[in-house]
C-alpha cells in the first residue's frame, strides 16, 4: 500500500472547482513530482492534503489512516511536513527559533539539538545565520531554512511546494541536489514544481496537472521524453 494516497479528490476554492477528482499516490521511499502551470491546482493539492483547504469529496489516506477530515496540526503530527509555497519563514524569529518551531512536536531536547546539527550539515549557510532573524535572509537562505525546518519533525514524507521559485539557477541546482540526497537517505518526497525539467530529473515518477485534473502520469524519464510535456512545460 502506498504511503500517501489521494482518491478522487474534489476541492473548491471559493466558487472555483479547483481540484476535479484528483487521484495520486506516493510510495514509501519515492520522489514523486506534481508538475503543471500556474493555477493548475498544485498548491491546492498540498493544502488539501494537510487540511488547510478541505476536500469536499474523496479520500486522503496516509500511512493507512484516513486523514481527509483531520485538522492541520494533527496531519503534521502524523508525519507530514509541508514546506509551503513562498517559504513562509517566521520573519521575526531567528534561524534557531524557526528550526525549534519545526520541531514543536519533538519533546526530547537531545533530538532537537541533533536535528539542528543535521540541518547545519545540509545547509552550512544556516549555521552562520543562526541568530539572525528569518526575514532578513536572502530568498535562497530562506528556502534552505524552510526545508531544514520541515525536516526538524522527522517526517515520514516531505512535501515541497515550488522550492525553486524565485531562486538563482545555482541555488535551484543546490536545492534539487538536497532533494536527491534526502531521498537517498530514505526520505519520501512529494515535489510540486513549475520547473518541470529539474523536477522530473530528480523524481522517480511524475503527474502532470492541468486545471485541477491529472492529464498524464508516468515514470519521470518517460515524461521527460514525452513530446506533449516537452512542448507544454519544458519549452
Amino acid at each position: 500500500m502506498a504511503l500517501l494516497e489521494l482518491h478522487n479528490i474534489h476541492t473548491y476554492y471559493g466558487g472555483i472547482h479547483a481540484l476535479k477528482g484528483l487521484t495520486i499516490s506516493v510510495e514509501q521511499g519515492e520522489v514523486v513530482t506534481l508538475i503543471g502551470s500556474n493555477g493548475a491546482g498544485k498548491s491546492t493539492t498540498l493544502k488539501t492534503i494537510c487540511g488547510q483547504t478541505r476536500a469536499r469529496e474523496g479520500k486522503i489516506i496516509f500511512d493507512g489512516k484516513d486523514i481527509t477530515a483531520q485538522r492541520t496540526h494533527d496531519v503534521a503530527l502524523m508525519g507530514i511536513a509541508h514546506v509551503p509555497e513562498g517559504r513562509r519563514i517566521f520573519p521575526k524569529l531567528t534561524v534557531r527559533e524557526n528550526l525549534e518551531m519545526g520541531a514543536f512536536s519533538v519533546t526530547d531536547k537531545k533530538v532537537i539539538d541533533e536535528g539542528v546539527e543535521r540541518a547545519f550539515a545540509y545547509f552550512p549557510r544556516l549555521k552562520e545565520r543562526i541568530n539572525q532573524k528569518g526575514g532578513t535572509m536572502s530568498g535562497g537562505e530562506q528556502q534552505m531554512l524552510a526545508i531544514a525546518r520541515g525536516l526538524m519533525m522527522k517526517p515520514k514524507i516531505l512535501m515541497l511546494d515550488e522550492p525553486s521559485m524565485g531562486l538563482a539557477p545555482i541555488l535551484v541546482e543546490q536545492i534539487f541536489d538536497i532533494v536527491t540526497e534526502l531521498n537517498k537517505e530514505g526520505m519520501t518526497i512529494l515535489l510540486v514544481e513549475q520547473n518541470a525539467n529539474q523536477a522530473l530529473s530528480v523524481a522517480h515518477r511524475g503527474y502532470v496537472i492541468q486545471t485541477g485534473e491529472i492529464i498524464l502520469k508516468d515514470d519521470a524519464q518517460t515524461l521527460l521524453a514525452n513530446p506533449q510535456v516537452r512542448e507544454a512545460y519544458l519549452a
Partner: protein, 317 residues
C-alpha cells in the same frame, strides 16, 4: 514649590504607568495574534480587583488577616485573582470570540463590548446581593510610608505595585522569548497557517494567550485595589481605555511597546495632573488629565499610527 512635589508626582506616575503597562500587555498580546481588540479586557482587570478584595475581606472576616505577613497575604490574593481571571479570559474566548473567528472584524468587537457590560453588571449584581453595595473598600496591606532620603516620603503600596508589575513584565518577556510555547505564540502571531504546519495547535496557543493576558490583567486589578483602596464595577472602563491608549502609543501588537507606552502615559498623566494647573494659571486643572491622555492617543493615531515601537504595516504582496 513646584519641584517639592516632583518626587511624589513621579512615584504616582510610575505606579499608575506600570499598571497601565501590564494591562496594555493583555490588549497587545491578543491583538498580536488575532488582530482584534479585546474590549472586555478592562473588565477582566476589574474582576481581578473584586476577586482580590473579596479574598482579603473574607480572610479578614475569618480573623486570619490580622497578624498575617502582608507579603504572604498579597501573594495569596494575587495567585487566586490571577487564576480566576485567567480562567475567565479563556472562557470568554471560547464562548464569545472563537465562534466568531471567521466573521467580519466588527462582529467580535461588538461581542467584546457585550461581554464588558455583562461583566460589569454581573459583578454589580453579585456584590449588591452579597454585601448590599457594590463600592468596596479593600483592606490595605501596606501602610508604612517610605522616606526617600528626606526629599520626599512615598507610600509603600506604590513601591509594591511597581515591583510586582516589573516582576510580571520580566516573567512574561522571558516566557515569550525563551520557552517553546512562548516562541510558538510569536510564531502564531506572525503566520498562523504556517504555525499549524509545524504541529502547533493554534487554538491552544490562542487559549494560552488569553490565559496569560487575562491573568496579568486580573493581578493588576489586585494592585489597583491596594493602591487606591476603593473599587467599583466601572473601574475597568476608563483604565482599560487608558491601557489601550498605552498599547497604541507603544505600537499595538508589540510587547515592549505596551510596557514603555504604559509607563510613559502614566508619567505624562501624573505630570500633567500636577503641573497643568499651575503652568496655565489655573485655566486647565488636574481634571483635564484624561483629556491630555486621550489627546495623546489622537496625536499618535494621526502622526505615528504604528506607535513608538511598531513597524509600519506593509501591504502584503
Amino acid at each position: 514649590m513646584l519641584l517639592n512635589i516632583l518626587p511624589q508626582v513621579l512615584v504616582d506616575g510610575l505606579t499608575l504607568g506600570f499598571m497601565y503597562a501590564v494591562v496594555a500587555l493583555g490588549y497587545t498580546m491578543v491583538y498580536g495574534i488575532l488582530e482584534f481588540i479585546n474590549f472586555a479586557h478592562g473588565e477582566i482587570f476589574m474582576v481581578g480587583a473584586f476577586v482580590g478584595t473579596e479574598v482579603l475581606l473574607i480572610t479578614d472576616a475569618l480573623g486570619a488577616l490580622e497578624g498575617m505577613n502582608p507579603f504572604v497575604a498579597l501573594f495569596i490574593t494575587l495567585v487566586i485573582a490571577t487564576a480566576v481571571t485567567g480562567a475567565l479570559g479563556v472562557l470568554i474566548e471560547r464562548v464569545a470570540y472563537r465562534p466568531l473567528r471567521g466573521a467580519p472584524r466588527l462582529v467580535p468587537l461588538i461581542s467584546a463590548i457585550g461581554v464588558s457590560f455583562l461583566l460589569q453588571d454581573l459583578v454589580r449584581f453579585t456584590e449588591a446581593l452579597a454585601r448590599n453595595e457594590f463600592y468596596l473598600n479593600t483592606p490595605t496591606l501596606f501602610t508604612t510610608p517610605i522616606s526617600l532620603g528626606g526629599i520626599a516620603t512615598i507610600p509603600a503600596k506604590g513601591l509594591v505595585v511597581i515591583v510586582i508589575a516589573i516582576v510580571m513584565m520580566v516573567a512574561l518577556t522571558l516566557f515569550v522569548n525563551k520557552t517553546k510555547w512562548g516562541i510558538a505564540m510569536r510564531a502564531v502571531a506572525q503566520d498562523r497557517s504556517t504555525a499549524s504546519l509545524m504541529t502547533i495547535n493554534v487554538d491552544k496557543v490562542i487559549m494560552l494567550t488569553f490565559l496569560i493576558g487575562s491573568g496579568l490583567g486580573g493581578a493588576t486589578g489586585v494592585l489597583f485595589a491596594q493602591n487606591y483602596g476603593t473599587i467599583d464595577p466601572y473601574i475597568g472602563f476608563i483604565l482599560g481605555l487608558k491601557a489601550f491608549t498605552a498599547a497604541v502609543l507603544g505600537g499595538i501588537g508589540n510587547l515592549r511597546g505596551a510596557m514603555v507606552g504604559g509607563v510613559l502615559l502614566g508619567l505624562l498623566e501624573s505630570l500633567s495632573g500636577a503641573y497643568m494647573g499651575p503652568l496655565t494659571n489655573g485655566a486647565f486643572g488636574a481634571e483635564y488629565k484624561d483629556v491630555f491622555a486621550f489627546s495623546i492617543l489622537i496625536l499618535v493615531l494621526l502622526f505615528k499610527p504604528e506607535g513608538l515601537f511598531g513597524e509600519a504595516v506593509k501591504e502584503k504582496v
